[in-house]
Structure formats: structure tokens, C-alpha cells
Amino acid sequence: MTTPPDDRVSRRRYEREQLARTEAEKLLEDKSRELFEANAALSTQSANLERAVKERTEELEQALKRAEAASTARSRFIATMSHEIRTPLGGLLGMIDLLSMDEKDASKLELLNYAKAAGEGLSRIVNDVLDFSKMEAGVFVFEEEDVDIRALVESIRILYTSHGKGTGRTIVTKIDQSVPKLFRSDATRIRQIISNLINNALRYSADGPIIFRAKAEAHEKGVLLRCEVEDFGVGIPPEKFKDLFKDFAQVANPLTVAAQGTGLGLAICKRILDGLGGEVGVESSLGEGSTFWFEVPVEVVSRPQSTQDDDVEMASGGLSPARSIEGLRVLIAEDNIINQKMLLAYTDRMNLKADLAENGRIAVEKFAPGKYDLILMDIAMPEMDGIEATRQIKAKWPAKDVPPIFALTAHVADAIEEEANIVGIDRILSKPIPFDTLKSLIESSLKLSTAKAGGNPKVAEPSVAIPPVCAPKDASALVTELKGRMVPEVANHLLEIFDLDGLIDLVQKFVVDASFRLEQLIAAERSGDKDAASKQAHSLKGASLALGFKDMADMARHMELRDSDVDVEGLAEEFVSQVNEIRSILSL
């Protein structure tokens, strides 16, 4: 009898295991199917997602294209608007200038001044809005050029104190020795920032001086220029600080009921400084005044403690500059009759000899070497535009025979800059260009070009012999002597811009120039040419005023106007003796 071994399994146990296995296999199949279906669902979903992403991407690309097209259209619109608004505005302002020049009726003059102020206000707003739009559109371009901040600030000072709300206000400029005479930056933008800050200071203060300070400290790029504009006006509560530099933000001005400006000024300053890698900020206490400051790193061109030569050069630019451009011959290429009249009136007032070309082709025909000292070239003209005319002139004649060419344009300057550079335009001036600005630009550029032509700035100095400079150690005593004869404010101001030596040099130039002019004046008077005599007197007046020699300025004015039986010759002799007194002080 055999017993089954222990490792044998009973039939029912085997069947139960079989059953369990079948069930497990069925479960496995079910799970496999579920997995497959889940996978299929996932694949479908994934495909859907991919399609959705593709559709979205296409939509976004479309949207981007539309946005880019809109942006391009906007830029074009800005350029067009800029032209369309500035051209008539320039015409208006120019006409007002012309009317003012000839107007004798005080009440009408007052109205014209209001019109001019309103027009200039509009012009500023248009420029602000255009600048802002350009920044928004990302087409705001920064230049790199040599900047002379002393000259720049001085021109701003004169501009603001000579008219409008700045009349009668004092703007004190304190530019530290540490600030380089020349540095690389964007002069237009720096001017814009300083003008904005000074304009604000004038708006938000009723009296007291506006103080402009500048200093520089070492920086990895060269120096860090820090400028401050301080006023003693209404001040700003601290909680407003953070909004000051935001777009369209304005702080309520208790000095005026009406809102002024666009609220874009400081926002533009901030954006410009962002672009130049600088910073802007404010310190202020309510009721006591505000100090706005900005810092910008700049590359130094020449160091401030340089030489007397620089001062001499600067001084020559500062002294009654009207002399230096008188009689120059200018070719004006301009088709617009209003602009023609304006430019002709301007050049007439500058005592320039102007010749008119109605378009670019005529300008090319009229031009010949030695015939003109300067060409003012409108850009948009019929038949041949200014760019092409410039190109043809430059192609036809050797560079040394072509005088400086200034482009006048109502376009945004950036728009034609590249072309202008290619054809060799020396400077682009945006219309409307105020009389003073045009004049000072012509003066400075012609000085520069003569200097360039001579190869050595000293050669380009007026050819009149300058007596040897006295020993510098006497400078301070000398200046004290001179100051006694000058209006104190003018003397102090001149000393701020020039140093002692610079001032002495300036006076020396005055002595030489005045002596020469007095000789001419006396000669003209004796020969009966009253007109020529008056002109010389006019120049003497300007030069005397510039140096604060009030007595001499008064004499010159009498000689110029020849009011009731004035003894011109007698005055001239007295003038000569005063000049000689100054000469003797200088040679002490």
C-alpha cells in the first residue's frame, strides 16, 4: 500500500489554485486593457494639448505682428505729427519775433510777448510729448559728443533770466573746479534735464535765487558728474517724492491756480538719466524749498585744471561775440516764404550778408568757393532737397572750400541724422530755432571751424596784438581794481564763469577791441558816415555791457542813438580816455 508523498497536492487544492490563477490572469488582462485605454486617452490629450499650443503660438505670433505693425505706425505717426506741429508753430513763433522787432507800441508789444510766451509754452509741451512718445516707442536716441557744461549752463541761465517768469530772478551757477571742461555725453539731453529742473525751480518758487551746482568725483567710467538745482520755494511734502518722477504726475503748485505743463518733465528727466546710466533724486522740505539732483557718469575729454589757453579760448567766445560774425556771408537755402523772411530778418539782425536760394538746386548753382562763410540748408525743399544739395556741393568742391553747412529741419532731428552725417552736414538745427540760439550756434560753430582750419586755436584768435599778460601774481589785486569799475553783479558772475586770469584776459581783449572800434567810430563820424559810427557804438555798447562797464555802456548808447545834439566825437574821446585808464590798470 502506497501513501502519496507529502509534497503531492490534492485535486481540490489544485483546482482552487487553477481557479485563482485564471482569476489573476483575467485581472491582469483587465488591468492591461485599462492601462492601454489610459495610454490612448493620454495620447489623445497630449495631441490636443500640442494642437492647442500650436494654435496659441500662431495667435500670439499674429498678435505680435499686429503689435509691431502698430508700433511702427505709431513711430511714423510721431515723426509726422512732430513735423506737422512744429512747422506751423515755428512759423508762428518766428513771425511773432519779427513783429516784436519792429513793434514800437508798448501795448502791442505786450500782447506779442504774451503770444510768444504762449507759443513757447506750447512748443515745450509738444516737445515733451514727442520726447515722451519717442521714449515709449523706443526710438529715443542718445548722442555722444563733447559737452562744455559751463557754457551750456550759462546759456540756459541767460535764456531763463532774460524773459518770461525768470525775468528779474537770479540764477547762481557754482561749477566746481573738479568738473571737467569737456566731457563726453549728450549735450542736448543734459541741457534738457537742467532746463527742466531750472524751469521747475522757477515755477515752484516765487523769489529767492535758484542755485545750480555741479561737481565731479572719480568714477570707473571717468568721473561721476553731480548737478544740483536748489530753490527756496514751496517745497514738496515727503509723501509726494515717490510720485514725482512718474509719468504725468504733478505736485499741486500753491503759486498758481492753473495746472502748468504736462507733468512729463521729471518723468522725461528720469528716463533720459536711465538712458545715460545716471540717477535723479530730490531733497526737499515743505515751505523751505527743494533741491533736485542728478548724477551721471561721463568720460572726461580734458581736465579742468588745464591751462590758461583754454580760458583764453573760452573768453574770446564770451566777449561781445556779435563782432566775430558780423559781415559774414550766408547762403540760405529755404523754400518756405515764411521761413525765408524769418531767416533773412535774423541774419540781418546779426549783420550777416545773406543770399537766398529758393531750393537745393539753386543753392548748388549759387555756391562757389570763397563766396560764403556759412550755408543754412533747409532739408525739405522742392526740386532738390537739402541732403542732396549738400551732397552735390561736397562732391563738386574740395572740402577746404566748403564752409560749415547747418541743416534746418522741422523733422525730428534723429530721423535725418544718419543721412545728414553721410553727406557731411555739420549741424542739424530743429525748427523752430529761436534767434538767440541760432546766433550763438553760428558764433560757436564758426569759431570752431576757423580753429579747425588754422590747425591751432591760438592762430585763430583775433589777429589784433594782445599786450603781454602781466605777471599772474598780481591777478587778484588787478581784479579788485577792475571790479571797482564794473557793476558788482556782472563782475561776480564773470568771475564765476572765468577765473581771475580769464577775466583779465577778457578785459585785455576788450581794451584792444574798443580802441580799434573807437578809431573807426571817430573816423566815420568825421567823414559824416553816421550809420557806420552808430554801428561801432552799438558794438561798444554790447561789449561794455557784457563786462559790466556801465559808464562806458551809457556813453556808447548815447553815441549809438545820437539823441538830441549829442557830441559824439566828444563822447568818443572820453570813452578813449576811460579805455586808457583800464589799460593802465592792466599794465600795473
Binding site: V9, S10, R13, R21
Partner: protein
Amino acid sequence: MKGTIFVELVKMAEGAFGEDVVDDVLDKADLDNGGAFTTVGNYPCSELVKIVVAFSEHSGLSPEVLQKMFGHWMLTHFVENYPEFFNSKADAFSLLESIEGEIHVEVRKLYPDAELPTFETERKDATHLNMTYESPRPLSAFCHGMIEAALEYFDQTGEITSQADPVNAQVTNFAITLAE
């Protein structure tokens, strides 16, 4: 209920009573699938109760005693098959506290449809732990056995009391006090 519980219960019975006895008991127990369980399947809990009752009748041991024995058996099974849950723990309390947040999380990854009981723990102090067991199935004795086995595994001794919740019939409150 997961098939592994059934399979392990049958294995335990085979060890205790022998294969033939198990076969006889299963045959008589009137099970839906004739006792053919697999670890990957899911079966109604009532089937488990049937098996426990059948073995209880056969052996004369009470269902509660059998459940506790089975609790010990299952813990040993878990230690063998899932040592990572045990190695990282220093004592029984840590293990019990990790059931909800750690072990059940892993179970759900493999068996999304698993119907798991909940184990809320509250440590009163270093030697006292309250655990609230909640399940629609009447298996609190099984749970009790597992707690005992956990203490043994960590070489700890202590007293375990269990009390059916007076309000919620699905809840049993355990209080575990470690010996000083």
C-alpha cells in the same frame, strides 16, 4: 478588500491546522469563489468574516483570538515584504504614527481603489499613545493583534486597551501604555 489579506489568512490557517483541514473548512464555508483567492484581486470583507467564523468553529478558538493571531501574522508578513517601513522607525509609536501619512500613501500609489481604514494617533506623552481606528469592517481585534506585534517587533512591552466608540459604531479607541 485586498486579496493579499485572504491569501495570508489561508496561509496562516494552513500552518496552524494543515492543508487538508484548511481545504475542508474552505469547502464548507460557502465562499463565492470556492476559496480561490489571489493577491491581485479584491474580495468582499464578508468573505473574510465567513472564513474566520469557519476556522473558529473548527478550532474552538473565538473569532477575536483568531483575528489577533492574524494581526501578528500580517505584521510579520509586512516586515518581510516591506522592510523599508520598519527600518526607518525607532519604536512602535513611530510606526503607528506613520501609517496614515506614509504607509497608506504608498499603498494608494499601487492600489488607487483600495478601501483603507484610518488610524488617527495622538501621543499623550513619551509612553502614552491614543489611536483611533475607524473602518466599516468589524476587524478591531485584527488591528489589536497588529499593535501587539508592533510592540514585540521593537522589543517593547506595554498595555493595550481597546474600547468601541459609544457614538460611532465604526470607531474603536485604542490606548497604548508602554511599560516603564
